[in-house]
Symmetry: C2
Subunit: 129 residues, 2 copies
């Protein structure tokens, strides 16, 4: 797969990946992919990341149901960042139950939480704990 | 500066930073910041990154004139990614002379360059070479 070889992977074999919502243009989240997860993402049309904390593939929405359907896959000038255009199932990308992960706004030298929780995380991850 | 202490810096003291254009919603680029560059960004209202290759602060637009004026600074749920909303001076964020850095689109297992060069990089960086 030549297109995968063209990517400048980190020493850990990863690439930073930004997910942007189609339509709204919201930047939903940033996560990491390895070679296998990017290949699966392109092949299946669903976002598959690599969880650094759990050290395994992370099929986005595998527990919450909030899958990301791929509309477009872009690579940047330096070949070391991926930008996905996605349809966000359930309208929730963040594990906190918010629409997207960037809900802390810098104001007067403080991070303020400025976006509402749309769904209780306890209801999103019922198999946990 | 408590707000800087809340950030989960990498082992190298950096944080991944996404710049999104105000108005268009275009994701322009991803770069890295260290503590000093983020503090300067917040203080001056101009994006200041940290260049890993040059190992020094990188005042965006210092050579090209294509500065980024800060409209909003967000932090994600894990405190390890910054999202900037910026006004892109000159309409060019990418060192290749394109509007943004994500100009390679995956199609049929190939990366296709799908965005035009708006300005010759030789005219953007006249002090180089």
């Amino acid at each position: 797969m030549k297109w995968l070889d063209e990517i400048k992977w980190t020493d850990d074999g990863l690439i930073a990946t930004i997910a942007q919502e189609t339509g709204t243009g919201k930047v939903l989240m940033m996560a990491w992919m390895n070679r296998e997860s990017l290949q699966l993402t392109a092949k299946t049309g669903h976002a598959v990341y690599y969880s650094r904390s759990r050290q395994r593939l992370w099929h986005k929405g595998e527990e919450s149901g909030n899958q990301q359907i791929i509309k477009d896959i872009r690579l940047d000038c330096d070949n070391d960042v991926i930008l996905l255009e996605v349809e966000q199932k359930g309208g929730i990308a963040c594990h906190t139950g918010r629409h997207h992960c960037f809900f802390k706004q810098l104001k007067d030298n403080q991070w303020l939480e400025v976006e509402p929780v749309l769904k209780d995380p306890n209801d999103m991850y019922q198999n946990q704990g």
